[in-house]
């Protein structure tokens, strides 16, 4: 398996992703193509977008994205087209629907919980002074009495 990855990705890895001959003449479309491909995963690579990868498959996908754009698809339509074929595994930015809501909300929820707990703790800290300072433990009271009695 590892060999396979090496063959597919690393062999050509550091050379080139987007080749000069892929680039569209229309700079607006090309910019959109780059945007879209930065968010699509190269399926045979380890965690690389098709924009960064030089695997053959990534090149095919890049060409596909450009083809769809030239035909006149919107960005969403292109992404949907690719997802229909390869599944949501290709999306580097997971969609927010369904169980993924948990992923997207995890940060804000934890932040809220953290702030709440910290607020309670800090209130406690701010209100303890008198009690903490005023009262001595029984042993301390005894020891104090001993000292005073001496």
């Amino acid at each position: 398996m590892k060999r396979l990855f090496l063959v597919l990705c690393v062999i050509t890895a550091p050379a080139f992703a987007v080749q000069p001959d892929e680039i569209l003449d229309n700079p607006v479309l090309e910019d959109r193509a780059r945007d879209i491909s930065a968010g699509l995963r190269c399926l045979v690579c380890r965690n690389e977008s098709i924009d960064d990868s030089n695997a053959e498959l990534a090149r095919d996908l890049r060409l596909l994205v450009r083809e769809r754009l030239v035909v006149g698809d919107t960005n969403e339509e292109v992404v949907d087209f690719v997802v229909d074929r390869y599944g949501e595994y290709v999306l580097l930015k997971p969609r927010t629907g369904g169980s993924n809501l948990l992923l997207w909300m995890a940060g804000p929820i934890m932040l809220g919980a953290g702030l709440l707990m910290a607020g309670i703790y800090l209130r406690g800290r701010a209100q303890t002074p008198e009690r903490a300072v005023a009262r001595l433990s029984e042993a301390e009271e005894r020891r104090l009495r001993e000292i005073l009695d001496d």
Binding site: A17, E48, P94, N100, L103
Partner: protein, 654 residues
Amino acid sequence: MITELGHFALILAFLVACAQAVIPLIGAHKRWPGWMAFAEPAATIQFLLTAASFAALTWAFVTSDFSLRLVTLNSHTDKPMLYKITGVWGNHEGSMLLWVLIVTLFGGAVAWFGANLPPSLKARVLSVQAMIGAAFFAFILLTSNPFLRMGTPPFNGQDLNPLLQDPGLAFHPPFLYLGYVGLSMTFSFAVAALIEGRVDAAWGRWVRPYTLAAWIFLTIGIGLGSWWAYYELGWGGFWFWDPVENASFMPWLIAAALLHSAIVVEKRESLKSWTILLAIIAFGFSMIGAFITRSGVLTSVHAFATDPERGVFLLGITAAFMMGALTLFAARANVMQARGVFSMVSRESVLVLNNILLAVACFVVFIGTMWPLIAEMAFDRKLSVGAPFFNAAFTPFMVALGLVLPVGAMLAWKRATVGRIVRQLIPAFALAVAIGALAWAMQSGRSALGPMGLFLGAWLVAGSAVDIWARTGRGTGRLARLTRLPRADWGKAVAHGGLGVTMAGVAAMMAWEAEDIRVLQVGQDFEIAGYGLRLDEVHQEQGPNYVATKATFTLSQNGREIAEMQPEKRVYPVAQMPTTEAALDNAFLRDIYVVIGDPQEGGGWAVRSYYKPLANWIWGGSILMALGGFLSLSDRRYRVAAGARKLPQGVPAE
């Protein structure tokens, strides 16, 4: 022969670690001085044995002893000496040996420099550290032994991955391991304190140097790794949110949080239980990092030696240490009652906020990294979580952190008044807004990311300057006093300023980078972001263990030639892998980055070039952060015996 001695030394070290894990612990419990004192020589011996073992493996690599399986798989006689040596840790087995060497080094450091620790605490710390060591010795000996021989040694080796034959990459693992393993020391201190039943200001002071050291090394290691990715991978990316990168970033975030909460323990005797918990979790993240890198559960560009058996073993070690420590934590919650009292507006509160932001940011990275696994197991969805998610979900926390930091850093302990600090900070804020607005005006209709980053950077740097200036008090002679401030104050200002520099660099690079891809004939030129680039010639060159296609470009600005750039494309015949060596022209405000690609059918060469604004600031900021850490580490109060006089001798409150 030397190999067998190394192997034997490793087994002996394991046995010493086992003894050191048990004897001092019993000694500390029963108050037997002799048994407690066993820990110190044992820690030293354990270190020396492991060092000997590591030296033996290094020797095998240096002499290209291909009867060793590991050397055959990862070395070659043609390889330059530097990479023969760094090849020792450029593989799973060798890197684990380096890891455990550092575990014993930190244990040794406590034995050698911990003269001011109470004997029972010291014995317990060393004992816990030895437990960690023993677990890793067992892991190496049972699943990843570097000293295995080959039946029939080949004539030559299979070479180290050419991508790893680079100084930036060769030296970043040792730093990262110093960081990861440094967190094992804070873990040992936390567990020892829990066993001891005592967490006080002195404890806060004892663990802080180790936390600081771990954080500094992680900073350097991550910085080096990202710098390597930037110039070596050929498209100038510096951070990919890859699982393995995240594995190093999570301990860094938690270590940063721990660093700050340990200050509260040290100065104010509050946040004790939280700090202990962080110390435990920080090491947990280090272990999870080791697990992610070596088990192959998450696919990553860096994963090496993916092997389920090793993964299970590492997961077992992680689970055992975490569950043990957390159980102890739950049982001893009562000893960690806070003493200090403070109001809502105080340094303490802001440090709590710092901890929340860092911890939640770390949690976001964690859940993003693990989500593909969770989604597949729990929801049967096969999906990816990549850079776009992290950029969106993680960045807000760093922005919030940057906004609050300059104000928080100047608040007084216990009870603070915001008004005076805000007045002092107005010039810094105005400067930052001006810089942000200028950036906003100069760019036309692009995202707010760049100006926001520059604003935050300027706000942090100027805020740190105001902070250090405010420390000099009032009246005349402030400049003279500036030089006499404690190094910790300087460390704080430099590290916070460094964070700002890095933030500005990251934002500028992401917002204003320009890219150009084209076919270029020899003699042709083109323009990128106002700079001219001309391809002068291309030729073949023979390197020590590779063949290179080397191009020469001339970089010019306004018709004036400013630099010659020579990107290369190398092919390593033994490993059958090509690499690119990008050519960079560094300047204070920008990098120009050129890569030469393949020859084209119709003649000419594919050429990829970038304009990278403020690129060096990312690593410059990292260096500043590390420097700030070193300054703080060298502060006088860690060199004088911390709490030596204050503590009654060895009477733990049990």
